[in-house]
């Protein structure tokens, strides 16, 4: 805006300014994208001859000044893409020459002024993406020149006024992303020029009026995400210019009208997520007409209740996407499907389809997504499918497919997800599968697969999820897989017949997170301590194997673990303390001990000694008592002897000497005999120890007394 200077005489030369031919009046101001800020000045109202005022794509704030309404010659007012706020002034209805009015992409509030109904020349009204509330004013419906009415992205409520049918020039009606309620008025059928009708994402209800099919110019109909009920109008075929019919996510019921076949410009048919039912029988006009729909590129009838054969839907070789997921279609998959050679996405899952996968599908060279899961399909996977080299998703799970897993799957280099689970496949997992280096998810669980897990699966270097559980796989867990499939975050090999020990390379899968499940196999040997490296692992199941040895202490490092099952193994020893908070069920049917199981019973010295002390104390006490008793008795005897000897000596010590001399003079006794001499009165007595009995002593005494040899003299 450097050219804008009050000093310069030639205002008409300023950037963005356009003057009238006589250069007397400013007729146009185009300041779009000038980086302007501040509010819209009311001074603009002074430009009485202004026909175009374009202030779009700036940073203007504040309200729209009501003075703008004074510009009686204004034809175009474009304020879109600013930050204008506040209520729209009623005075704007005074711009009686206005043809184009856009205030889209601001933050305007309040109701749409009814005064807009006075803008008799208005052709374009764009109030999109603001915060307008209230209902659509019926006053707008008098704007007979209106071609484009865009009220999308506001907070409008209430119903579409029936008077809208008076807007006979209307070409485009965009009311999506509001809170509109009520039903579509039948008067809408008066809009003969209407080409685009977008009502999606509101809360409208009611039955789609058949009068709508009078709008013969209609090209695009989008009612997605409302609550329309009842049938699709039977006369839909009158809309010969219809290119897009988008009715997804409503409450529609009843059949697809046979007249739909008349819409031969139709390119997209989206009826998903309704309650549509009925079959598409070939005998109806529907089929004959449908073959005229040569342009149909997208058919989406998913999540309805359709029955019968899918044959009537075929015939358009423009078909790119066919989605029939979750209905009750039955019969075989028609081989004619192979004639829609542009088909990229084919989704037939969750139906009642039977028979084999037609080999004619091999003609679908551009096929990217093939989902036929959850049906009753039988027979083998046809080898011709190897021609579909662009397949990224191949989903055949939950069928009754037989035969072996074909090795040509290894030629599908774009394959990202292969799901053959829950079938009746047998034989080996082909090593060639390892060539699909872009594979992210391999699901082969719940089949009758046998043989070893091929180490070539280590070629799946992008693999995130590997599920081989519930098969008859034998052999060891190949360490090549554990080394090279570094991006695995889920590994399930349970319920097979795998043998050998868990390779220590398992510790290299440091991104393992969801689960490591090796349970119900015949694995033996120790739990490798490298398992402690899996610090992101949340669930670990090694139960029902023949694992022995002790639980490595490294498992205490698994800080993310919240489910652990080591039960039903030959493990023994103490459970590491860090794992003691897991429930008892994690460790049952093993020889483990310690918390949370019962305490370990060990043979340590402390317990021996305690046992010893209990018994030994008693023994020792008994021994001490008995020895003491013996010692006491012996001492007692000695004391008695000594005492009696002492008394003997002290009583007759001298007499004893006397008697001894006498005795010896008489020649009695020998020195070697223990003789004791007693003097009783003057009588010397000799007792001989040889004769210990007292009677004998008495008798000796008596004999001696009898002998009378006793002297009374003291000599």
């Amino acid at each position: 805006m450097a050219s804008w200077s009050p000093g310069l005489p030639d205002t008409c030369g300023w950037n963005g300014v356009t003057c009238s031919d006589d250069r007397n009046h400013v007729v146009a101001l185009n300041l779009s994208g000038y980086g302007l800020s501040g509010s819209v000045s009311s001074k603009f109202a002074g430009l009485a001859f202004l026909e175009t005022l374009d202030l779009s794509s700036n940073s203007l704030t504040g309200p729209i000044p009501p003075e703008i309404g004074h510009l009686k010659r204004l034809k175009t007012l474009n304020l879109q893409q600013n930050r204008l706020t506040g209520r729209t002034p009623d005075e704007l209805g005074g711009c009686s020459a206005l043809q184009v009015l856009s205030m889209a992409d601001n933050m305007l509030q309040g109701e749409i002024p009814s005064s807009f109904g006075r803008l008799a020349a208005l052709q374009v009204l764009n109030l999109a993406n603001n915060q307008f509330s209230g209902s659509i004013p019926t006053a707008l419906c008098g704007l007979s020149s209106l071609s484009y009415l865009n009220l999308l992205g506001n907070a409008l409520n209430g119903a579409i006024p029936p008077q809208l049918g008076n807007l006979s020039h209307l070409q485009m009606l965009s009311l999506f992303h509001n809170g509109l309620t009520g039903s579509i008025p039948a008067e809408i059928g008066k809009l003969q020029r209407l080409q685009l009708l977008f009502l999606y994402e509101n809360q409208m209800t009611g039955i789609i009026p058949h009068e709508l099919t009078n709008c013969s110019s209609l090209e695009e109909l989008d009612f997605f995400g409302n609550s329309f009920s009842g049938p699709i109008p039977e006369t839909i075929g009158k809309l010969k210019n219809l290119v897009v019919l988008q009715l997804r996510q409503n409450d529609l019921s009843g059949p697809v009208p046979p007249s739909l076949g008349d819409c031969n410009k139709l390119q997209a048919l989206a009826l998903a997520d309704n309650r549509l039912s009925g079959s598409l029988p070939p005998t109806f006009r529907f089929l004959a007409e449908l073959t005229l729909i040569t342009h149909l590129a997208i058919i989406n009838l998913s999540h309805n209740r359709f029955t019968g054969s899918i044959s009537p839907l075929l015939g358009s070789n423009a078909l790119v996407k066919l989605d029939l997921t979750n209905n009750a279609f039955s019969g075989v998959i028609p081989p004619a499907l192979g004639e829609s050679t542009n088909l990229a996405r084919l989704r037939l899952g969750h139906n009642l389809l039977q028979g084999g996968i037609p080999s004619k599908l091999s003609r679908l060279r551009w096929l990217d997504f093939l989902d036929m899961s959850s049906n009753n399909l039988t027979d083998e996977i046809p080898s011709d499918l190897s021609n579909c080299t662009r397949l990224t998703h191949l989903l055949l799970g939950k069928n009754r497919v037989t035969g072996t897993i074909p090795s040509w799957l290894g030629n599908l280099h774009s394959l990202g997800e292969l799901d053959l689970s829950w079938n009746e496949l047998s034989g080996k997992i082909p090593a060639e599968i390892g060539n699909c280096s872009g594979m992210l998810k391999l699901s082969l669980q719940d089949n009758h697969l046998s043989g070893m897990i091929p180490p070539e699966l280590g070629g799946l270097t992008s693999l995130n999820v590997l599920n081989l559980q519930r098969n008859n796989l034998t052999g060891t867990i190949p360490s090549a897989v554990l080394i090279h499939c570094k991006k695995l975050y889920e590994l399930r090999l349970s319920e097979n017949s795998l043998t050998g020990s868990i390779p220590s390379e398992i510790g290299q899968l440091i991104e393992l997170q969801v689960i490591l499940d090796l349970s119900r196999n015949h694995l033996s040997g120790d739990i490798p301590s490298s398992l402690g490296n899996l610090i992101k692992l949340e669930r670990l199941n090694l139960s029902f194997n023949h694992l022995d040895g002790q639980i490595p202490a490294s498992l205490e490092q698994l800080t993310s673990l919240h489910r652990l099952n080591l039960s039903n193994n030959l493990l023994y020893g103490r459970i590491p303390a860090g794992l003691s908070s897991f429930p008892v069920s994690s460790f049952t049917a093993t020889k483990l001990c310690g918390a949370p199981l019962t305490a370990c019973i060990t043979r340590s010295s402390t317990s021996d000694m305690s046992r010893l002390s209990n018994a030994a104390v008693a023994g020792i006490i008994v021994a001490i008592v008995s020895i003491s008793a013996v010692v006491c008795v012996v001492l007692l005897c000695i004391i008695i002897r000594l005492w009696s000897k002492w008394r003997e000596v002290s009583v007759s010590n001298s007499d004893g000497e006397e008697c001894k001399e006498k005795h010896e003079r008489r020649g009695g006794g020998g020195g070697d005999r223990f003789e004791s001499y007693w003097k009783i009165g003057s009588t010397c007595m000799v007792t001989s120890s040889e004769k210990q009995s007292s009677t004998s002593e008495t008798s000796i005494l008596q004999r001696k007394m009898a002998a009378g040899g006793l002297d009374d003299s003291g000599s």
Binding site: S32, T52, D54, S56, T76, Q80, Q81, V100, S102, A104, D105, Q123, V124, N126, A128, N129, Y148, N150, L152, G153, M172, S174, H177, Q195, L196, F198, Y200, E201, E219, E220, D222, F224, G225, Q246, R248, Q249, Q267, A268, H295, A297, I298, N300, V320, N342, W366, D368, F369, R390, T392, H393, E417, L440, K486, K487, Y489, Q513, K536, T559, S560, H562
Partner: protein
């Protein structure tokens, strides 16, 4: 809110043959020729803006550099992102996992990701993500695991992470994060594993709540981190 401009397919279809993808652009020829501003007035074409989660992911993807084409399957014309690779949905088609670890992706982590209300696992580890962790990630109220380790993220750990009430695993190690550890994280009662090692964090380490159980290795190699906080003795460290 979205502009009024038509929704375009920014990435060429991988299928080279001329296919009839139903037109998503307004048919200019059938309209009367009006002033150029009309181009901006025409509404977006039929319901593509039906899955906000797919839109959020697509808007984020547009800013990423993806040399190995891991995001090739991210087709915005599909009704939801549940068949996109590296995206996992629940039975109601809501995104619960985003697995882009080790994918050689660079760019910034988008604030759009905060709109994935049912996301449980955000796995963006070992890539070349730069810039700040957007505060909008605090809106992920179902999040169980956030793994952003091994990138070049800078700036602070958002305080909004205090709202991640379901969070069990938070690994932000090996980045260039700075600032202090937000005290608000002590309210994450489900947090079992926290790894902030190998960053440039400063200040002290909280000791309350789950922080009582985190080993010191969780905070290794933050040269300006001062160790556990001394409660009551020093004031809260504002900016360090």
């Amino acid at each position: 809110m979205d502009g009024v401009s038509p929704l375009r397919l920014p990435f060429p279809s991988p299928l080279p043959s001329p296919l009839l993808i139903f037109p998503r652009y307004p048919r200019m020829a059938s309209l009367p020729v009006l002033l150029p501003c009309l181009l901006l007035l025409l509404a977006a074409s039929p319901a593509l803006s039906t899955n906000p989660e797919g839109e959020a992911l697509h808007a984020w993807r547009a800013r990423l550099t993806d040399p190995t084409n891991v995001l090739q399957s991210w087709d915005p014309t599909l009704v939801n992102p549940c068949t996109w690779f590296h995206v996992t949905c629940d039975s109601q088609n809501r995104v619960i996992r985003l697995d882009l670890g080790n994918s050689n992706v660079s760019g910034s982590i988008g604030p759009e990701l905060g709109g994935l209300e049912h996301l449980q696992y955000l796995e963006l580890y070992r890539n070349n993500f730069q810039g700040k962790i957007p505060a909008e990630l605090g809106n992920l109220r179902s999040l169980i695991s956030m793994d952003l380790y091994g990138n070049q993220l800078q700036g602070e750990i958002p305080k909004s992470f205090a709202k991640l009430k379901s969070l069990r695993f938070l690994r932000l190690n090996n980045n260039r994060l700075s600032g202090s550890i937000p005290r608000e994280l002590v309210f994450l009662s489900n947090l079992k594993v926290l790894d902030l090692s190998n960053n440039d964090l400063c200040g002290t380490i909280p000791i309350d709540g789950p922080f009582a159980n985190f080993p010191l290795q969780s905070f290794d190699n933050n040269s300006r981190l001062n160790g556990p906080e001394l409660q009551g003795l020093v004031p809260y460290d504002i900016g360090c």
